[in-house]
Symmetry: C2
Subunit: 373 residues, 2 copies
């Protein structure tokens, strides 16, 4: 957040800051979604809905999985107020004060706050480039203890964009204790390369609890809409919590999201997926050429986790000087955990190819200067 | 919820069920709000906003208080994902595992779940008609203990519609321990009679933390938007929690809500306020005439808490038979707490006067039949 404030200050001073820190797609929302929202407004469809969301939207989500070859019933789907709302429901349903939740380091920094909000806390499991920044069953077992209730992993992950390999996912689903939960954050599901090993963790096993969002692949960030796919035995408890803690997800967003699965919108989402992929690969190639190595090429999302140690600076200093001297905002590893956090910087490809080329050109100058100093 | 399901079953069988259980205004959203939402969609204003909400909306909320003669600065206002989101933020900010929160019995049933979600729990303070279902300082002191961190009161309250008297509010603000918090749920603020003793608790004292909503007076239920007015020292902590737990409130709802304060929308809200008041008084008069006494005439909201003991049945049986035999859905006291919960039934005046007259006519028959059996 300090970085963002400083970036805005520099912009206010007239500098052309290149924003590589933004975790929000840079495309406008697909037209059919906007149209559906307008129709809902016109029809006055703005009342409370059922706490678990519009039945037709739950069905549409189930269909989305069915088309991926995975059997999901509408009753297992709970529409939430963003993936944030979904994670709050899961934390409240699955964790009690004193409980522990395993997360990866690096990982999405807000996860800790959800655990802490319900009186639990996280156990950070360090993951490195050797395993594409994803944990193996052994890594989790090594940090297991009496108080660990379950695991929250992301695939594709933030800040690395890497997916859990199919074999690793199979191993986790088979090998974790029976009474432990396994949440797979698939917020970036869909935003992947051409041949992902699997489309959703549910195609590997029915065990994972899925945390999803309309924000990334579907581009609906400010609409605050996501969903959960739950095992049957969790649905009642989560519904009760949703009724009490949220009343319902935003209504107009729900009607709009029905159109997110329409052929027209899906075509647009696929077009954007390809663009994100092209940008990510272009930046990865450029970073590697500059020695700012991307040790695990992302499978998806729009992030690159780049090892900046060749520049001769800790990542936090690299990031600070990059902003001050070269007007590029990128997020230092510190924001994603403790493990190797002074080696890595995250670049978000939420800018077009022209900006990425300009970023690479400035980075080249930056690396020369930093190495010389 | 069972009541609601049964009501829908009866409707499916062709019965004309009168819905006196619905806590949602029955008016369409005021036209300027809908128009503002459409303009936001047209302009593509659907990205994430700042976690505390659009600066211009925070200012508009501050202005709303300034017009009521209360000094509030935009920096104290945090826009939330419904009052539900606001209450979650307050629970996470103010309560730790093992802490206690005082609430009234009867009161809003979801409050308990927010406390429990963060590992705390509630202490129910019984309130009766003698004090218009609001606690005195002495009532709270009598149930105080080491572990109590603060109090959550509602004014006007659900299920009774009563406000905390000005003198009682003064006493509470002066007399509660200095390190205790006092949250005043003003979700029904604005929906009051012609001459309320005060318009907001902030006009009595700067002490209360205010929990507010765009759902009731402003009629924006499914938009999931509310706000908090915080003392300065809480703002930073709540903002950090909001960033992590919510990212931001729904964006289109925020742009729409800017129009909720426009003269045209305010005129419409005032018109509705008068209609709710007329309905409430009409039903209260009728209930009193039938011996289903409303012992504390509501100051606001659209609820009546009616003592049905004259009908000779516990409130839960009264409510069940009323639905089965007379097709009126009304919420039994059980849903709002434990104290005297078999004496009271809540009627929500979210139906027009014609329905209220029909409700009274059916109630007359019901009372005769119940008394005879």
């Amino acid at each position: 957040m300090e970085l963002l404030e400083r970036a805005h200050e520099l912009e206010a001073q007239g500098f052309d800051v290149l924003h590589m820190e933004v975790g929000e797609p840079d495309f406008p929302v697909a037209a059919p979604i906007i149209e559906a929202a307008k129709v809902a407004l016109q029809r006055g469809l703005t009342q409370y809905t059922s706490a678990t969301g519009l039945p037709e939207l739950r069905s549409a989500v189930a269909d989305y999985y069915n088309k991926l070859g995975v059997k999901v019933r509408a009753e297992q789907v709970v529409i939430t107020s963003g993936a944030s709302g979904g994670l709050m429901l899961l934390a409240a349903a699955l964790l009690n004060p004193g409980d522990l939740l395993q997360v990866t380091d690096p990982g999405y920094p807000c996860n800790d706050v959800f655990a802490e909000a319900v009186g639990a806390s996280v156990v950070r499991v360090p993951v490195s480039a050797q395993t594409a920044f994803q944990p193996t069953l052994k890594d989790l077992q090594a940090r297991w203890s009496e108080k660990v209730r379950g695991v929250l992993l992301a695939s594709p992950a933030n800040p690395t964009g890497t997916m859990i390999a199919r074999s690793a996912m199979e191993e986790l689903c088979a090998g974790l204790p029976d009474d432990a939960f396994l949440i797979v954050d698939e917020i970036y599901q869909g935003l992947v390369g051409e041949q992902p090993e699997y489309r959703t963790a549910l195609s590997v096993s029915s065990r994972p609890i899925i945390l999803q969002s309309f924000s990334k692949y579907f581009g609906m960030t400010g609409w605050r809409l996501g969903w959960l796919v739950l095992p049957d035995e969790l649905v009642d408890g989560v519904r009760r919590l949703a009724q009490n803690l949220f009343i319902c997800p935003p209504t107009v967003s729900q009607y709009a999201a029905l159109a997110a699965f329409s052929p027209g919108a899906m075509e647009e989402h696929e077009r954007r997926r390809r663009i994100f992929r092209e940008r990510t690969l272009r930046l990865a190639e450029g970073l590697n050429a500059l020695g700012l190595t991307v040790p695990a090429l992302p499978d998806g999302a729009f992030y690159l986790y780049s090892d900046v140690s060749a520049a001769g600076l800790p990542a936090s200093a690299f990031s600070r000087r990059l902003l001050e001297e070269f007007h590029i905002a990128a997020t230092p590893g510190l924001d994603f955990g403790e493990y190797q956090n002074e080696r890595f910087v995250r670049f978000a490809c939420t800018v077009d190819l022209g900006v990425i080329d300009e970023v690479l050109s400035r980075l080249k100058a930056a690396v020369s200067r930093f190495q010389a100093s």
